[in-house]
Structure formats: C-alpha cells, structure tokens
Symmetry: C2
Subunit: 335 residues, 2 copies
DNA sequence: CTGAAAGCGCTTACAG
DNA sequence: CTGAAAGCGCTTACAG
C-alpha cells in the first residue's frame, strides 16, 4: 500500500479510500491509484485490515465431525455455505471440534472469527450457552428446544414427516414404522432432528389411527442390514416405512431383500432428509424427501452475517421443508 | 495484553515472553503473569500476532468442490487434515473454489494464508504453476505428471492396482475389466488417479497375458446401473472387475444383479481407493482396497507445514498404498 | 531477566 | 477532496 501510494503520488490514506470506496476521491486521483495498483499487482493485506477494523471477515462452521457421520447432505450444505460466505465477502472455516463448550471458547476468544455457525445442534446444547455468555455472534443450523432469542435455520422435520405419512396414506398404507439414527453416544439431551421426527411420528400416527412402531439403528449400512433381519422377523405387519438415516438405508433395504421382503411390493419405503445421491445407492432407488441442504447453507450464512452486521435487527428464524422426490420404493399397498 | 501487563506489574513485552515462551522469564514473574492471565481470562489475539509475525498460521485446503463429487474418502481426508493442523498450531480453511489458477491468486495474495494444500490435482495443473510463480508454499494431495521440485502426498495407485490384480489372479481369474470415473468435464490434461490406474491396469494385464477391458462411468449410482446393463450384454467373458468409482459402485452392483449376474459367483469385484462406508452400501458388501485417507490428511498437513517452516529442507514426497479388506464380492473363479 | 520503542499493514477520526 | 497521525494487538531487536 505504501508502494502504491508512492507510485500514484498520494498518501496511503487515499489509497485506502479508493480500495474501500470509503470516501469521495477525485476521478483523476482514483484513476492514478487504480493504475498504480494494477502496475504493482497490489492486493490489500487482510491481516492489517482485520486488525485495524477489529473484524476478520471469517466465520467458523462448527461441525462435530467426531460424533456423527459426515453425510452427503452435510457436505452439500457445507459447500453451499462456503460459496455464500465468499459471495458476501467472508471466509468460511470448517473447524472440526467436539461438542465441548470449552473448545468453542478456545476458538472465539482468540479473535480469529467474527461469528460462528453451529451444526448438529442438540436440544439442549452447551455450546449455545457458552456462545451466549461470551457474546459471540452465532446462528444455528438446527435448533435448540427453546428458540427464544436464537438465530437459526432448520429443516422443518415436523411438516416433512407429516408429508411423508400423508403420501403413504394416500397409497393406502395404515401400518407404519419409523427408523432413525438415534441420539449417538452419551448425549442425554437429544439430537433435534431425531427427537422432532419421533414426536411428530408418534402424534400423527396416533391422531389418524395408524399403527406406528419406532426403531433405531446406527448410522451405517451394516447396522441397517442387522436391523432389517430383526425387522423381517418381528414386524411383518408393517407396510410403510420412514427411514431417517441415510447411511443405514441401503443396508436396510438390502437386508429386507435377503429376508425375502420385496420393495415396494411388500413394504414401501420413504427416506427422509436425505440426498438423491445416497438414495440412489439403494436398490431399488429410494423415494425420498430431499433435505434442502443448499438452501440451508446459504440461509445459514446469511443468518450469521446478519447477526454480525446488524445485531439489533430481528433474529432470523427459518424452517424449510424437504421436497418429495419419486423413486422406486413406494407404491400402493397390496390387496 | 495491556491489562494483563498492568495486572501483573510487568511490561507487555514480558507478557509476550511468557505467552510464547520465547525468552527466559524469572519464575516469580512468570507466575504473576500467568495468574493475571487466568484472572482476566486472557487469550492472545491471533490477528495482532499474525500482523507482527507476518504469519497467520492458516492453511487453505483447496478442494474444487464444483467439479468432482465429495466422496466419503475426501471427507475423511479433510477431517484428519484439520485435526492435524490443529495439533500443530495451524488452522485449516476449506476453500471451495474452481480449478482456476486465477482464484488461487485471489486467495493467497491477500496474505490470509501461510500455505496451500491442493486436492484433486490434474496431471498438468495450472494451479501448481500459479503457486510456483507466486512463491506461495504449497503441497499436493495427488501429484502432477512431473513431480520434480514439488511436495506431495499421494495414493500409490500403481501398486494398489497391481495388488488388486494379484489378489484376483490368485483366485484364478484371467479376464479383467477396470471401471473408473473418467476425467470429468472438459479437463484435457487428465485426472491423475484415473490416468495412473489405467496405465497400470493396461501394463499389468498385458505383461501377464490377461485380458483387460477399460470402461468409464460418471460418479453416481444411476450411471453405474446403466453401465452394468451394457456390461452384462457386452462383456460376459469378464469374471474379475476393478472398480475405481465409489459412487457408481453400489449402482453398478445392483445393475449386475438385475441383469442376472451374481456376485461373487459369476463376477468378482474389488473396489479401489474407496472407504468401508461406501463399500458397505453395495449388496453384497464390496471387497476393497481402502484409501489411506486419514494418513493422507495427516501427512499432507505435515508436508505443507514443512514447506512453510523449513523451505530449504528436502521436499516431502510420499506414496501410500491402499490396504486390502475382505468383503463379500471376490471369490475363486468358477469351474 | 526486564522494559521502552519501533513496526507489522491497514483504517479512520481529525484537520486542512 | 487529500494528508498526517494515531491506533488496532501483538512481536522483537536493542539496551540495560
């Protein structure tokens, strides 16, 4: 910047004004400065800028990678979020840490990031408390039990589960099961999507006089196979299955076939909150409710930037439903 | 830091010395300073530090997300790399940009990162030229055609493909096929892993008098299904299949079954450079050569940090083979 | 062993 | 419209 100033015969202040377009500059001067920048291949140093402005334009995406699997959906989300951050002049840093509140402090206290985007949120999440206490701007992908005073973007699992049940009811099904991924290890408070799906599934089946059983399995294909074997023995009455566990789904479907259960002839399956990629891994390809990962990523970034730039504005709080996509795993009930 | 100094009755220089352990400090003084830091909950500001040291301790991981799929393997790699960076006092930033050299400049020129880790490297990669020109420290996960003067960590596809062929030959197979993911769209120069796998497959089958056909399909299950249908018609003689395309593999296997080809009874399959997660999605679960993703991530980070900290040291250049894992898709040839 | 001071590359009142 | 100067939070010769 010093060199540019000299080259253009102005002060470094003036260079700063044209770089940031922060104060009026005479057209002739501006032209000289811009020419100098081009000649010297100048780019403003982001560290100097960060120190002077007290702002780094970096957002951290906290993904507790050790705890849950990295799903295709999460990856889509992440890619979209990074692109949107870039679009808005920020950088998105993926910070694979555990769910400990303490580690969150570590990150925010050194001043490296302007704000934090949390994923894999628990109904009661200690990280949220910690961020509130430290007054670090944050937004959630997901939501806590009580969303008062919290910025978030989340999938509307309630309406999504209901829509899936609707679809299967229209096909004549009345005996349902839900398979989810459980709460993972040692988290008493519960993982939001699972808790909400179970709640809605229970309510809706009860209200409509449907039978509904809930099963859980680990998030991998092998666990899916095992559960399928068990399922084939103990739940022959079920004809309609909601699976909210995209990693276990292909294995589960394979397991059913091995047990002589045909899809969709004997049992219809809808995968919930998954991606087409994963649904296509199963045979037959699964009918699914696609998770709005790309939108979530974009809106999540917008939400955290809104918190950073306009903390006094109303809190962004958005729910997005999954979109139904036809596959080969759901059909009219037999008989 | 100012507050801490005051609180402990020392100069800020002394505080810096104890924080960084950069100069001898009297035990009593050190204790006072540490007490003050604890009392005030002080953490050194990383931006101030970065400016003073001319170093940000940030490494960018360049993953051209738009071009290739995000595989489970890549995700494992990424998680491992981030952990290792953290371990060594650096932060890893995922920067989802296209393969354009220009965008690489954009990133490095603003001084935000100390070095760059490149993934999805092409045999002739314009990003590499650009980084060399700008004298930005970098290391590759993958490698260019000519690795002279380049720091890299890569999968040893040559030995991996040969090992897979060995294994299948021991089971009595002589008629082979290779299915890869192709070069993606519009990249004339070629994607390293595919080029190297094809090269080795061609050489080894020729040397040993095996028959070998090479097929390509897009990286998704649907494409796998389609290719399987075609394969079933045109390559009935093949009994041993190497698949280096983890997204297409489950679909391909499902397609073979639909065409009446049994695995492993009629055809044996080994998936190359995949992860157990993905291999388990297929039915039967695939026998595979596991990509050393975690090691690659760790060693890739070590390599770039070595370049940053000791540019005069010899270049890190490492090849890692995949490890064989038994699944249910490879068996002795019939008859 | 400790401190005063310069400097890292910017931004931003303030003065002109 | 332009510039001189202070300051952002650190680190690091240099002096003592």
């Amino acid at each position: 910047m010093h060199d540019v100033a000299q080259h253009a015969n102005v002060s470094i202040a003036t260079v700063s004004f044209v770089v940031n377009d922060s104060k009026p500059v005479a057209p002739a001067t501006r032209e000289r400065v811009e020419q100098a920048m081009r000649d010297l291949g100048y780019r403003r140093n982001s560290v100097g800028r960060a120190l002077a402005r007290g702002k780094t334009f970096i957002i951290a995406l906290l993904y507790p990678a050790l705890q849950h699997h990295f799903s295709t959906t999460a990856v889509r989300f992440f890619t979209s979020a990074a692109a949107q951050a870039r679009e808005r002049g920020y950088n998105l840093v993926l910070w694979p840490i555990s769910n400990e509140a303490e580690q969150v402090t570590e990150l925010t206290a050194t001043g490296l990031v302007d704000g934090v985007l949390l994923m894999e949120v628990q109904l009661d999440d200690s990280r949220v408390d910690e961020l509130e206490r430290r007054k670090t701007p944050f937004a959630l992908i997901g939501r806590t039990r009580d969303t008062e005073g919290i910025a978030f973007v989340d999938v509307d699992f309630e309406s999504t589960v209901e829509a899936a049940i609707d679809h299967l009811m229209e096909l004549g099904h009345t005996r349902f099961a839900l398979i989810d991924g459980g709460y993972g290890s040692g988290n008493l408070s519960g993982y939001g999507p699972v808790a909400r799906a179970r709640g809605t599934f229970g309510e809706v089946t009860a209200q409509r006089g449907l039978s509904g059983v809930m099963l859980t399995c680990d998030e991998n294909s092998e666990a899916g196979r095992e559960l399928a074997a068990e399922f084939a023995l103990e739940h022959r009455e079920v004809t309609a299955l909601l699976v909210m566990n995209e990693h276990a789904a292909p294995g589960f479907v394979a397991g059913l076939r091995r047990a002589g259960i045909r899809i969709p002839d004997d049992v219809s399956v809808i995968s919930i909150g998954s991606s087409t990629d994963m649904a296509a891994m199963a045979d037959p390809q699964l009918t699914l409710m696609i998770s709005p990962a790309v939108e979530l990523g974009r809106m999540g970034v917008d939400a955290i930037i809104e918190r950073i730039e306009n903390p006094q504005h109303p809190l962004p709080q958005t729910l997005l439903a999954c979109t139904f996509t036809q596959g080969g795993s759901a059909s009219r009930v037999r008989g």
